[in-house]
Symmetry: C2
Subunit: 219 residues, 2 copies
C-alpha cells in the first residue's frame, strides 16, 4: 500500500516515545502491562476481578483506551481502581504519545502496577509499543479457536495469553488444544492461563502472574 513508508516513519517515532515512556516507568520502579484483545473479550471484566483480588495490597493505575465512551474507566472506578480514560475518536490503537500525554502529570512512583487496556482490536495495537514491560493478549472462547493462526502478530508479541470465558466452553464448539497449538505456533512456549470472570476461576493464577511482574519491575 502507498502509505507503508509513512507508517514506518510514524512507527519509528512511536518507538522513540515508547523508549522514553519505558525509561520513566523503570525510573519509578513501575510495572506496566499492555493488554490487547478483540472487542468484547472481557478485558474490563478481568480488571474488575483483578481489583477485587489485588487492590488492597497493590497500588494500581489503569489507562483505558476506547474509540468512544468513558464507560470502561467508570466501571473500574466503581471496582475501586484509579482509572484514566483515553477516547481516540476513531483511531484504532493506543500510541506511545497518547500514553506519554497521560502520564506527564502523574506521580508514577505512587503506583506499583499500571495496566493499560488497549482498544479492542486484534490487528493494529500489536504494532505499537507503548513502553510496557509486558504484553498480554486476552482471547475469549467465544471468538473461536482459530484466532491465533488468523491474527498471529498479537500472539507473537505477547508474553502471556489469557483465555477468558472458559465457563462458556460447554456451549461452544471450541477446541482448547487447537487454540493452544495455534498460539504457540505464533509464539513458541507462550504461557496460557484459563480464566472465567463469571466464576472467578483462574483469576488467582492471573494475579500471581501480575505479582511476579511487579516484583521483577521493583528488582
Amino acid at each position: 500500500m502507498a502509505d507503508i513508508p509513512v507508517r514506518k516513519s510514524v512507527r519509528s517515532r512511536n518507538d522513540e516515545i515508547a523508549a522514553e515512556n519505558r525509561g520513566r516507568f523503570r525510573e519509578a520502579g513501575l510495572c506496566v502491562v499492555n493488554m490487547l484483545s478483540s472487542p468484547g473479550s472481557g478485558k474490563t471484566s478481568l480488571l474488575e476481578r483483578t481489583a477485587a483480588h489485588m487492590k488492597d495490597r497493590l497500588r494500581i493505575l489503569v489507562i483505558d483506551g476506547d474509540v468512544e465512551t468513558e464507560r470502561d474507566a467508570d466501571r473500574l472506578r466503581k471496582a475501586g481502581l484509579e482509572a484514566i480514560q483515553i477516547q481516540t475518536h476513531g483511531s484504532c490503537h493506543l500510541s506511545a504519545a497518547m500514553i506519554a500525554e497521560q502520564i506527564a502529570t502523574v506521580d508514577l512512583s505512587a503506583y506499583d502496577l499500571l495496566l493499560i487496556e488497549n482498544i479492542g482490536n486484534l490487528v493494529c495495537p500489536s504494532n505499537y509499543d507503548l513502553g510496557e514491560a509486558r504484553r498480554v493478549v486476552v482471547a475469549s472462547t467465544t471468538e473461536g479457536d482459530d484466532k491465533p493462526i488468523k491474527y498471529p502478530e498479537a500472539y507473537h508479541t505477547a508474553d502471556l495469553c489469557v483465555l477468558n470465558k472458559v465457563d462458556l466452553l460447554p456451549y461452544l464448539p471450541f477446541d482448547v488444544a487447537a487454540f493452544e497449538a495455534g498460539a504457540r505456533r505464533a509464539k513458541a512456549g507462550l504461557p496460557i492461563l484459563q480464566t472465567s470472570c463469571t466464576t472467578d476461576s483462574g483469576v488467582d493464577a492471573w494475579c500471581r502472574w501480575l505479582d511476579d511482574q511487579v516484583r521483577a519491575a521493583e528488582a
Copy 2:
C-alpha cells in the same frame, strides 16, 4: 496524529477505486454486500448457513479477507460456494484496490451476489468503501451489549445489523434492548436481525434480506 493528512489522501484514492468497482458491479447487475465485525463474531458460520439456504437458487461468490490463512475460503468452498481468499499479511482492513485486483479477471455477470467478508476488526474497515451496495455489521452476543456505543462508526455506516449467537443469551449478561438502543443511537432506524448459526434461527430472515438486495441490484 502526524499521519492523518496522508491517510486522508490514501482514503480519497481508495474512494476513487471504490467508485470504479461500484461501476463494474452496477454494469454487471451484481449485488455486493460488505460484512464487517469483530474477530469471531461468526461471519463465516453465517455464510456457511447462507450457502445451505441459497446456493441452489442464487449464484454466489465470496471474497474473504483475513490477515493470515486460507481457512475461511476453504470452509466456504466445503459449504458449496465459490470463494476467493485475500490474505493481507498484517493490514487491518480490505481496500478497494484489493477488491479491484481480485475482480479484474472475474466474469461478474456470472453471479447474482458477491459477499465480501472483511477482516475481523470493528474499527478500520468502516473507513474503507470497497464499492459495495450494502454494508452489514455482524455483532455477537458474546461481545457484550456496549459495542455499538464504543465502536459507533461500524454501526453508523451499516445498512443492516445482524446480532449473531443469540442461542448463547441464556448464559450471558447481555441486554438486547440496550444493544439495540446503542446501535440505533449510532444509526437511526438501523434494521437489526437476530440469528444463531447453531440453531439456524433467523437465518431465513437474513436470506430474505439478501434476496431483496439482489432484486434491487437487478432492477
